[in-house]
Symmetry: C2
Subunit: 346 residues, 2 copies
């Protein structure tokens, strides 16, 4: 079966962008055989420049580029280009799918927000892993997308590695009452370390940073902003228009070993829990002592878990929630899904 | 927002058909407000006749019909009709969505198979809860649907109440290695009873029948045919063309209390497990002693659980797997999803 090709512009060329480019280089053949879709990377963009090749980079060109230093795409011959904005890139190539992997900026969503608006205005389908534009402007983005008849997929923004949002999209017939989950792998890793080895927050954080699980600046995770962004995306996907700034958050910065010991004495585990309540129409991220018999209590390390309460059922989903490889696979699924949907397949 | 209307033909008017009709009667208003879709039931069909009303039945007409005796639709005035085949019904009304709820027949898939083929040939989108046509002829049905540009949705066939298949459809980027699960609520209820109360298979089955959990003829569940059909549907959804007749099945008929005690002594639980192995390209349904610490061991009663192993992740989904109400909600989601997708929404 041959269905056609998709031309990808990948914006953001850090860990996830490189993992994705590599994955596509390795799986191009397999995807062509299994789904009849020829995935071509026609452009890669980092913060200082881009590589642009209208016909699509070859697998060996991609594999060379993923080994180059950060922010050096403009220097890579023969396809490197300096550019001052995404408009320049679109002047040179016309992708069929725009993949937005810039880092999240929770102040104003930029530069991701402008990038995807530019893509939508150009009638280009969008896949994003950058949570900030959606957490801040879900409604605006989706309205624009519908008006322009453009698909926007964003499965990798929540529980990357586990297609939770697909399952959530299958709940339209239901009255969902709440969604509650452990959505931040970094914080969960730190809390698990504190519980299992009785180390302080500082020690656990240092270990997480040494392993590359926590960012050098971990505030977005530790202050609950990342978990809040994810619960906002889940809520909006289910039709509840909540904004990031309205999520009540509790930081984990002042957790002491005493808090951990106190939870243990009660046969409980201290977890960072993000929750949205659809009746009260509110969301929060807080620390909660969870009884050991609750499935969420057993979710450790970088695993995530979500419990969905509906009027007639309780659904629990557990799976990996982070990792550049997992994220790359999930983005790839969104890309393939767009390619198939456009052609009437599922 | 007003998007338009959908005209439903519901074929099969037993427990699930009645629950669905009632649910639509109660939720018509809510669905119109939330999704802009006006759902109209223009026909109901049972084994002996039909009720047909081209403009759509009113909520109070629906609520009266769900209280009528089995197989009596033809006698209900003023819209009752005798008919000899689905062709007669289609001669009178043209639905936009065909909902197929006839009971599964694992010999040849009939009458469900002919019904949905007729719908597809008439370019009518299909939602089905009847597993047999898919378990026997997945490829044929899907090829026809694609050729006719028709949507076929069937989320209620597996883990009704829990949209597992939506999550499965989000794994296209992944190498799925296996899917393994407890997929039959009736058998799981019986085995749970045997474990918790140390009763014989016969006693547990009688209790299940008294509660309406097991059918008067429970062979399809106890011989593993139902679980096999479900694992076949999961496998095919993930692109592995396996047929029901190729699934190796183990019946639970000869389980004794001794087997249960033996499992308990080993700190294990005896479960009916359905599994598909994507590397070996084979599927089976068998009895397995599962260690207590495995999440599948804790799934009791009519709950279902599925574990999905990919090259980079292990995903566990737990939720209700049976019940006429749960099934009706899941069918309703498929109906709304078709209505939204047709109009470019998701």
């Amino acid at each position: 079966m041959t269905l056609g090709y998709e031309e990808l512009l990948i914006v953001g060329f850090g860990n996830v962008g490189r993992s994705l480019a590599k994955l596509i280089a390795f799986k191009q053949e397999y995807i062509r055989e299994k789904y009849g879709i020829d995935l071509r990377i026609i452009g890669l963009v980092d913060s200082k420049g881009a590589v642009v090749k209208p016909g699509g980079l070859t697998a060996s060109e991609i594999l060379k580029l993923v080994e180059t230093p950060r922010s050096s795409l403009r220097l890579q011959k023969p396809y490197g280009k300096t550019y001052s904005s995404i408009v320049d890139v679109y002047d040179e190539v016309e992708p069929t799918i725009h993949v937005e992997l810039t880092p999240p900026n929770y102040d104003d969503g930029e530069p991701g927000l402008s990038h995807i608006i530019h893509a939508i205005k150009n009638h280009v389908d969008v896949v994003l892993a950058n949570k900030a534009p959606l957490a801040l402007y879900y409604d605006k983005i989706m309205s624009m997308a519908i008006a322009s008849n453009v698909r926007v997929k964003y499965k990798a923004t929540v529980m990357a590695g586990t297609p939770l949002l697909n399952l959530v999209l299958g709940l339209k017939g239901y009255e969902v009452e709440y969604v509650k989950g452990i959505l931040n792998g970094t914080v969960n890793y730190i809390l698990t370390e504190m519980h299992e080895n009785l180390v302080t927050l500082e020690e656990a954080l240092q270990k997480a940073q040494a392993l590359g699980i926590a960012e050098p600046n971990p505030a977005i995770d530790l202050e609950g902003i990342d978990a809040a962004a994810k619960i906002v995306i889940i809520a909006n996907t289910l039709g509840l228009n909540i904004k990031l700034q309205n999520v009540v958050r509790q930081s984990i910065y002042n957790i002491s070993l005493q808090d951990i010991r106190s939870a243990i004495r009660k046969n409980r585990v201290l977890k960072q829990v993000a929750q949205v309540d659809f009746n009260k129409r509110e969301a929060y991220v807080k620390l909660e002592e969870i009884p050991l018999e609750n499935p969420l209590a057993k979710v450790n390390g970088t695993y995530n878990a979500v419990e969905i309460g509906t009027s007639i059922n309780k659904i629990v989903v557990v799976g990996k929630g982070a990792g550049r490889i997992e994220t790359a696979y999930t983005i790839l699924d969104d890309i393939i899904s767009i390619a198939l949907e456009k052609r009437g397949y599922r």
